[in-house]
């Protein structure tokens, strides 16, 4: 399908010095195919309109044609940095829809793989935001090196680095392989040292502070009204983490803190990822110690030809990027009547313009980077 620019972004330039610029969709700092129509006076942003849809494939329509289980591997492709949490959100929504119990061991495995996913998402974030500030390469490669070690664990467990297709309704697809837990535990032990190194290299850096502090400030009240979620919401000082609020899975048995920002600027959004990564390590250590033996899949659930009772449910989890929810409607059949994804990456962009107005064009990339989007999820 060819694309026809409906209106040129260069139309309607007003006033002396006003310039409309189309940023993206192939800009390296837009994290994929994302475009912004930006109006500038000099270098100051006076208007910003995001343009979506370059990666749209109507995930929801395809899911309506699939069986319930058939959409599970497709959720991997939403936020492809964090496929396991996408699986988890979908499984949890279906479990709410059909009233399915999950065995204890499976809940622990979900927490372990989910927190490993959060760890690698936040690590990659640290690399990408440095790239957005112009520090191409080094930080990103440091981050990717660590991420690869977690992906190796996922590959061992699921057979795939990223497209894991791991969760099932009422549990997980397979139990942990022999030796996996020890390897994962040993790996997580090394992680604080990596985070310390990253922090030593980055957080006190003068250029980083100058680029992040006081940029893209967002108040907690606006963040709530704009539906922002996850680290971006908490960086604005709002104490809201679905792991605590909904207390799903075995999270109530694990002790962890919810970091919060005080200013709501890019620096808070940067630091909150570092702090959350440290809390994820605490969660992982407790989960490694507590995980019981037992079944990993509810045997009462017929996965193939799965037919949930008629009705609807909205299920959500705290994904690494924010609230990942699924709104599902069943009419008792083998296919969903309606399947809707609540993508945190898209909704966290709602206030992008508000955050960018009055800043310089170079800051737009940093603000966008601090939100942490993945276009597979934004456009679906």
């Amino acid at each position: 399908m060819s694309f026809h620019p409906h209106t040129s972004s260069f139309n309607g330039v007003q006033g002396a010095g006003a310039l409309d610029v189309s940023l993206g969709p192939q800009h390296p700092s837009t994290h994929g195919v994302f475009r912004m129509n930006v109006r500038m006076e000099g270098e100051t942003i006076t208007k910003l309109q995001p343009v979506f849809g370059y990666l749209h494939r109507n995930h929801e329509k395809i899911a309506e044609a699939n069986s319930w289980l058939g959409s599970m591997p497709y959720t991997d492709r939403l936020d492809y940095i964090c496929p396991i949490t996408n699986n988890w959100a979908y499984a949890r929504a279906v479990e709410q829809l059909a009233g399915i119990e999950v065995p204890e061991r499976a809940e622990y495995i979900r927490v372990i793989v989910g927190e490993l996913t959060r760890l690698q998402n936040h690590t990659v974030f640290l690399g990408f935001i440095l790239a957005d500030m112009g520090a191409w390469g080094s930080a990103l490669m440091y981050a990717f090196r660590e991420r690869e070690k977690i992906l190796d664990l996922f590959e061992w467990l699921t057979g795939a680095r990223m497209m894991v297709n791991y969760m099932r309704f009422g549990g997980v697809r397979c139990d942990l392989p022999v030796g996996w837990l020890e390897k994962a535990r040993a790996y997580v032990e090394t992680y604080p040292a990596f985070l310390d190194e990253m922090e030593r290299l980055l957080t006190g850096n003068e250029i980083l502070l100058a680029r992040l502090q006081g940029v893209g400030i967002l108040s907690g009240e606006r963040a709530i009204n704009g539906g922002l979620s996850g680290p971006v919401l908490r960086a604005s000082g709002v104490d809201y983490d679905i792991r605590k609020v909904d207390a799903y899975g075995v999270y109530p048995r694990l002790s962890f803190r919810i970091p919060r920002g005080t200013v709501g600027d890019c620096y808070d959004r940067f630091m909150i990822r570092l702090l959350e990564a440290r809390e994820s390590i605490r969660i992982l250590q407790q989960a490694f110690a507590q995980i019981p033996a037992g079944p990993t899949l509810n045997p009462a659930v017929k996965q193939r030809g799965f037919k949930p009772p008629a009705g609807e449910a909205y299920g959500r989890i705290e994904g690494p990027k924010g609230e990942l929810g699924f709104h599902l409607i069943s009419q008792g059949g083998e296919k969903p009547y309606r399947y809707h994804v609540r993508p945190p990456s898209l909704i966290n962009l709602t206030l992008l313009e508000e955050m960018c107005l009055g800043t310089k064009i170079a800051d737009v990339m940093v603000i966008l980077g601090s939100i942490d989007i993945v276009l597979g999820e934004v456009d679906r």
């Binding site: 399908m1 060819s2 694309f3 026809h4 409906h6 979506f52 849809g53 749209h56 109507n58 929801e60 329509k61 709410q96 829809l97 059909a98 009233g99 606006r222 709530i224 009204n225 704009g226 539906g227 922002l228 979620s229 709002v238 809201y240 609020v245 909904d246 207390a247 949930p308 009772p309 008629a310 009705g311 609807e312 449910a313 909205y314 299920g315 959500r316 609230e323 929810g325 709104h327 409607i329 069943s330 309606r338 809707h340 609540r342 898209l346 909704i347 962009l349 709602t350 206030l351 456009d379 679906r380």
Partner: protein
């Protein structure tokens, strides 16, 4: 999270806004998320009340989705309260039919989070959100004529691997592209 029952919310609405037409529609699913269906003429008023009532404080409208039923379209809102840590409450508004009377009020003035999501429901279902500050397509392109998530949608069949496009499919395809002059997008050009 504190359980907030839709029955309680309904009673609060009826006490404060006795003339508002709100109906509790039970959900047979084990999720127990019963819906409050509000008449579209009262939706904005009810939404304002839900957000500001000190007992409810539903300040966080996380999810908005459209649904296509046989005789009407529906906009579904999932509301939570961050202040009181309660929810979800499912709020629904319905259009009159699927063809002509497809207007419901936009709740974006109440919850900014509905902005992109209402645009998405407009784009994919053709629900017109009256009072939305910027109701444009979100994911499909501006010239696109149809609403792909509707149940009766037929995808335009202009794929290269289709050897013989035929019948209703090719007619639909031609209708899609008749308004677009660009040669690359005409079927089988």
């Amino acid at each position: 999270m504190t359980a907030l029952t839709p029955e309680f919310v309904l009673a609060r609405i009826q006490a404060a806004l006795p003339e508002a037409r709100v109906e509790l529609v039970p959900n047979p699913s084990p999720s127990g998320q019963h819906a409050l269906v509000v008449d579209r003429r009262d939706a904005l008023q009810v939404a304002q009340f839900l957000k500001n009532d000190p007992e409810l404080l539903l300040d966080y409208a996380t999810n908005v989705s459209g649904v296509d039923y046989a005789d009407h379209l529906e906009a579904v809102y999932h509301l939570f309260s961050i202040a009181k840590r309660q929810g979800p409450i499912t709020l629904k508004t319905r259009t009159g039919d699927r063809a002509k009377d497809v207007t419901v009020p936009s709740l974006t003035p109440v919850w900014k989070s509905a902005d992109f999501q209402e645009r998405e429901a407009f784009d994919l279902f053709g629900i017109r959100f009256e009072g939305h500050p910027d109701l444009r397509r979100l994911l499909m392109w501006e010239e696109f004529a149809d609403h792909p998530l509707r149940k009766d949608y037929i995808a335009p069949d202009d794929y290269e691997y289709e050897p013989t496009p035929h019948g209703a499919i090719v007619a639909k395809s031609q209708a899609h592209f008749s308004s677009v002059a660009h040669p690359a997008s005409s079927p089988n050009a």
